[in-house]
């Protein structure tokens, strides 16, 4: 198994690690059983622009790298654009992931969506195209879902 240079870069120098005080929204997905948990903090301004994004991740090199890349990709974006973030776009931005690590990129997508859901709930608004995140993404079919892509 070999990671791309970009994955190694984002793993060794992860961007946006940390917490936000008083975040507009936070989301935690994954579970310790499978060995990866990701938490995303978002600071969203009154125009719906993501001013800052931070993360904390318990997981392997790929989990850390996708967390780093996903937060980079949504920073400065409007929430409607952030919703378009997919595990595939995160993977592509990292020049790919080994097949067994694809589920890590699903985690990043789900974490961002969970944080946006939290934001919407706090604000009492509805964001088009955003559904309530599952309690545990690993209970679903995500592990098998993307591997054949």
């Amino acid at each position: 198994m070999q990671y791309s240079e970009k994955v190694m870069d984002h793993f060794t120098n992860p961007r946006n690690v940390g917490e936000l005080e008083d975040p507009s929204g936070t989301g935690t997905v994954g579970n310790a059983k499978c060995g990866d948990i990701m938490r995303v903090y978002l600071d969203i301004d009154e125009n719906g622009i993501i001013q800052d994004a931070k993360f904390k991740t318990f997981g392997c090199g790929a989990a850390v790298a996708t967390s780093s890349m996903a937060t980079e990709m949504i920073k400065g974006k409007h929430i409607s654009d952030a919703l378009k973030l997919t595990n595939r776009s995160v993977m592509e931005a990292l020049d790919g992931l080994p097949p067994i690590k694809v589920h890590c990129s699903v985690l990043a997508e789900e974490a961002v969506r969970a944080a946006l859901w939290d934001y919407a709930e706090k604000k009492g608004i509805k964001i088009d195209g955003l559904e309530k995140p599952a309690d545990d993404i690993h209970d679903g079919h995500h592990h098998d879902l993307q591997e054949s892509d």
Partner: protein, 394 residues
């Protein structure tokens, strides 16, 4: 300390220079096939028989009870499948443990798909097999007990003599995978009541691709690999002469270095003690005393093993982990789960296995590096964040 530090000797070891020197003639000018009648053949044959003698003596076996194979996995496959095949009319029940190497585990699972019944006996929190559970598992149709001598991940040494006694008194064949034990701790197939034993050369500074199966003379084990009359018609295939010569030399050297095993144990204890003392939320996996000399397996709470492995590798340290992410599956090591670790603790394990070449300076550097790596990964761990908040609230 910019050079690399190798702490993965349970995966494989550096081949000794002396082993290479012993092998070299058989890779070059002494290329005869040991089965050939001419002088080339005789020369190779004598070298293999010399190696066989050394190895047999080392585990208190007879020369004609040692059969060379391609390695530990072949030996395990051969022992288990051939006993199953030979004894299937007597019964189809096999007893094993929950912490076996994949070579044993997967072979048993293969047989289970073919109508055999496998009972996997549990281990305690240190990885020692529960003997009362083993006794209770025995049935009239039990044909084989296969339990490893010492565990590859947590280093726990099993009560092999007792297991052998239980098998012997019940008339059941006893196989042990001794790949991690051979050359590291004393083995005596007579005193330990062992019928079949697997070992491998590359775990004791020998070459890769050569191993052995000890077969007690009273057992007429059928071949796994059919063909020519090599190895007393039990294992076909031209002998791996350089490999066998290297295995013999490595065994000879191991016999000497085992006298200094306490030095490795001391260094290992030094490593374990420093880590447990200086890195909070760390725990030793496996038995403190009944443990292979070179094995240290430690879980660091709230962080994941593959990340740890990658970061220490960048600092020049080669180790191993029981995390799922490193194994290509989603479940962490079956061994760590069998000793009762929660999944997240199993994911955070790091195995460091020492050799006689490991120095105290290397271990000091390792501890200092680990402190930094563990701190760094915890600072980005949501589990650590939650745990610290809970601590404050309490």
């Amino acid at each position: 300390m910019p050079k690399t530090i190798y702490l993965d000797n349970a995966a494989t070891t550096m081949m000794s220079r002396e082993v290479l020197d012993a092998m070299m003639p058989y890779l070059t000018e002494k290329y005869g096939n040991p089965s050939s009648i001419h002088s080339f053949g005789a020369e190779s044959n004598a070298a293999c028989e010399d190696a066989r003698k050394k190895i047999a003596k080392f585990i208190n076996a007879k020369d004609n009870e040692i059969y060379f194979t391609s390695g530990g996995s072949e030996s395990d496959n051969w022992a288990i499948k051939s006993v199953a095949y030979m004894k299937k009319d007597k019964g189809k029940h096999i007893i094993t443990s929950g912490i076996e190497h994949h070579a044993v585990m997967e072979t048993c699972e293969f047989l289970a798909r073919d109508g055999f019944e496998i009972t996997s006996v549990g281990v305690d929190e240190n990885g020692i097999i529960k003997l009362d559970e083993l006794r209770k598992a025995i049935r009239p149709d039990t044909i084989l007990i296969t339990v490893m001598y010492a565990n590859n991940e947590i280093g726990t040494i099993q009560p092999i003599r007792e297991i052998g006694e239980i098998a012997r008194s019940s008339g059941i064949i006893f196989h042990t995978d001794a790949v991690q034990a051979f050359g590291h701790i004393p083995i005596d197939v007579e005193k330990d009541n062992i019928d079949l034993l697997s070992a491998s050369a590359h775990k004791v500074h020998g070459p890769k691709g050569v191993g052995l199966l000890y077969i007690r003379n009273t057992i007429k084990l059928t071949p796994l690999i059919h063909g020519g009359p090599h190895e007393r018609k039990r294992r076909a295939g031209t002998l791996n002469v350089p490999g066998i010569v290297g295995f013999g030399k490595a065994t000879e050297l191991a016999r000497e270095s085992m006298k200094d095993a306490s030095k490795i144990t001391e260094k290992r204890n030094y490593l374990i003690d420093r880590i447990l003392k200086e890195i909070p939320y760390s725990r030793l996996n496996g038995d403190r005393d009944r443990r292979l000399p070179g094995n240290a397996n430690i879980s660091f709470m709230y962080i994941e093993g593959e990340s740890m492995l990658m970061l220490v590798d960048m600092k020049g340290i080669a180790a191993s982990t029981g995390s799922a992410c490193a194994s290509g599956s989603l479940d962490p090591s079956h061994v760590l789960l069998a000793i009762g670790l929660p999944h997240e603790t199993a994911h955070g394990s790091l195995r460091m296995t020492l050799s006689e070449h490991t120095t105290k300076e290397e271990l000091d550097y390792t501890v200092e590096t680990l402190k930094g790596v563990v701190d760094r990964l915890r600072s980005m761990s949501p589990l650590y964040e939650d745990a610290m908040k809970e601590n404050k609230e309490v």
